[in-house]
């Protein structure tokens, strides 16, 4: 098991390096000159030259890349061209916000999606199944921003139950922090719940037809135990993979929702950085996101092995 995890980590290293090259080159290919963006109206060649020198933009590109990677390994992702803050600091500030949002959204998705998926698989072809499918389809089709706005109107403006926006750090006031984030997490979670529900349903439908489920029934076990233990355990693999990928997506993909609920998260940081041609920040964010993705994949792989005894001996 340990050797398997080590092997997976070793495989992850070249992947991360490749991503870093890719991210770096893509940045360089983008139109627009960051120095111009920084200098604003003032186009004094001397100032521009000074800035170029300061941010080492005159070095050959491979040298720039090596400098960047070397620094990144030491935890230094450069300095934001825009705010002059270290990128690492910016990320460290925003990342926990987004992770909290993502975790809560995933929890919503799991709590809604998996039971709904199991139920509609077990009750296939009945009213329950159709209702679950219609709800799921609506969950997928309703745009997040619309649902977000409607929720704010209803829950915050009309009923005055939850705050419409803002963010309270978890360390400051955990209860308030969680309640403030309930609505955005729900908005993000519903769309994911629909995806999860569909996948849980199809995985369960496949497993429920299997011979070992018939064996479990032949033992005289109650249907609930047959479904929840014997079938669900074997349907978990695709569900775990999907959850890991969805979580990875949430890290950088919650931009709209963060915007609507004015949450100072990662998504907003990305968008601002891209619009301002803040190279260092964009690079840092993409790198962190990619590493996050790879880490989630690693977790999913480990979960596979834990779930599937056949892989454990391999």
């Amino acid at each position: 098991m340990l050797s398997f995890i080590l092997r997976r980590i070793l495989i992850a290293i070249p992947t991360i390096l490749l991503i870093s090259v890719f991210v770096f080159s893509l940045q360089k290919l983008l139109p627009g000159d960051p120095v111009l963006a920084m200098a604003g109206e003032e186009r004094d060649p001397e100032v521009l030259e000074f800035l170029r020198e300061k941010y080492r933009l005159n070095d050959p590109i491979p040298v720039q890349y090596m400098t960047w990677v070397g620094n990144a390994l030491r935890g230094d992702l450069g300095i934001s061209l825009r705010t002059n803050q270290p990128v690492t600091e910016l990320i460290a500030e925003k990342l926990p916000v987004t992770i909290q949002l993502a975790v809560m959204a995933i929890l919503f998705a799991l709590v809604i999606g998996i039971p709904a998926g199991i139920l509609s698989a077990v009750k296939k072809g009945t009213v329950t199944d159709y209702v679950a499918n219609i709800v799921a389809l609506s969950g997928l089709s309703i745009p997040n921003f619309w649902l977000g706005i409607m929720l704010i109107l209803l829950v915050s403006v009309k009923l005055d139950l939850l705050p419409a926006s803002g963010y309270v750090p978890l360390s400051e006031d955990p209860v308030k922090s969680i309640t403030t984030m309930l609505m955005p997490a729900f908005v993000l979670g519903t769309a994911l719940a629909a995806t999860l529900m569909r996948h849980t349903r199809s995985a369960m439908l496949g497993v429920l037809k299997s011979d070992y489920v018939r064996t479990a029934r032949a033992k005289g076990l109650h249907e609930r135990r047959v479904v929840l233990k014997h079938a669900f355990r074997n349907a978990l693999t695709p569900i775990v993979t999907l959850t890991a990928l969805l979580f990875g997506e949430l890290i950088a993909g919650a931009v709209l929702t963060e915007q609507i609920f004015t949450i100072p998260g990662f998504g907003k940081l990305v968008v601002d950085a891209v619009f301002n041609r803040d190279y260092a920040v964009v690079q840092g964010i993409v790198l962190v996101t990619a590493v996050g993705f790879i880490f989630m994949n690693l977790l999913a792989d480990v979960a596979y092995v834990l779930l599937n005894p056949r892989l454990r001996t391999a």
Binding site: D211, Y212, R214, T215, A218, K219, G220, T313
Partner: protein, 341 residues
């Protein structure tokens, strides 16, 4: 009643299981897939149901266990007497507390019949824990003993292994252990040796026979292999198109088959001794449910069919406990049948 039953030749023993007038339809098909089945099995005896694929033998076994999904199956008729209880198969089959306890089943596919995610020991012990009031340790202990009884080497170690670590034969032994751990009085074996290679087949048949003589359970053994029938059966019921066409003690049916279909089946088995003529086959194939003829269902393939066969023949006695559903039984000259085929 459609004639007599496939019953034990030891009249003194009471049957453990009796099935009366069991019929079954797949939803959306008006023709019954199993039609008026009567079976009777006593303690210690093995009734083999023989027939081609699709003749309704497996589906009947599943129905007895209550394992058929209600949404695709309709049971318009059928009662089962088991251990002194009468079950109306139309409404509710075997209850979950009897299933896996007093009546157990082993299946054709040992490779896929065990749950890949759980240890062998836990899967066997689960059957005990569910039906008996005992601790996990006790259940695991009886799982261990059961693994020993079914002849699995190093049972202590096997308990902790997963299905993928076992061969097909070993998995079938595990399935048998799981089925028999609660000492059922009745075992349904649905082609348990079909997926295994020949030497393992013989071992598994020996094992089943051995355990049966130890426990005295009644067995319903489903197969299409006449060699297996000769090995293991006390009585035989030959099924064709969802109906029993011939039934009786294995000796009588094998030595003196009376239904043209049974005769055809017997003649299509290669023998070590005797003539080396071409093997005889039964012409044609089993018609699909939609094309099933009225009356005798075999008549489209039968060399002797006449207009009389448009009426369904009743299962009637031709010898002691030996019954045949054919208007022309007992046939005087079997060789004629063989020639005609």
């Amino acid at each position: 009643m459609q004639g007599s039953e496939a019953r034990s030749d030891t009249e003194s023993t009471n049957p453990i299981l009796q099935l009366h007038q069991f019929s079954l339809r797949f939803r959306g098909h008006p023709e019954p897939a199993v039609d008026g089945l009567n079976l009777s099995v006593s303690a210690g005896e093995t009734l083999c149901i023989v027939g081609e694929s699709g003749c309704g033998k497996s589906v009947s076994a599943m129905a007895l266990m209550g394992l058929l999904p209600q949404d695709i199956i309709d049971i318009p008729n059928g009662q089962m007497d088991f251990e002194g209880h009468r079950y109306d198969l139309r409404s509710d089959g075997l209850d979950a507390s009897t299933r896996g306890d007093r009546m157990a089943m082993i299946f054709q596919e040992p490779m896929t019949s065990l749950n890949p995610a759980f240890r062998i020991g836990d899967q066997i012990a689960e059957a005990v824990l569910h039906h008996r009031n005992c601790t996990r340790t006790e259940a695991t202990e009886s799982a261990l003993q059961m693994l020993r009884r079914v002849g699995i080497p190093a049972p202590q170690q096997r308990l902790r292994e997963y299905p993928h670590q076992l061969s097909g034969g070993m998995r079938q032994r595990v399935m048998i252990a799981m089925a028999l751990i609660n000492n059922p009085s009745f075992l349904i074996a649905d082609e348990p040796t079909t997926a295994l290679d020949v030497t393992i087949q013989a071992q598994i048949l020996d094992l089943i026979r051995e355990l049966q003589s130890e426990t005295g359970m009644g067995t319903l053994f489903i197969t299409h292999d006449l060699g297996v029938v000769a090995e293991i059966a006390t009585n035989v019921a030959v099924m064709y198109g969802g109906q029993i066409v011939e039934s009786g003690p294995v000796g009588a049916v094998f030595d003196d088959p009376q239904h043209p279909y049974t005769i055809g089946l017997m003649s299509s088995v290669p023998r070590m001794s005797g003539s080396r003529d071409r093997l005889i086959t039964v012409p044609g194939t089993v018609p699909s449910l939609a094309d099933m003829p009225q009356g005798c269902r075999f008549r489209t393939r039968c060399p002797f069919a006449t207009d009389n066969c448009a009426a369904r023949p009743a299962l009637s006695d031709v010898g002691p406990d030996h019954a045949v559903a054919c208007h022309y039984a007992p046939l005087e000259q079997q060789d004629e049948v063989r020639c005609a085929m």
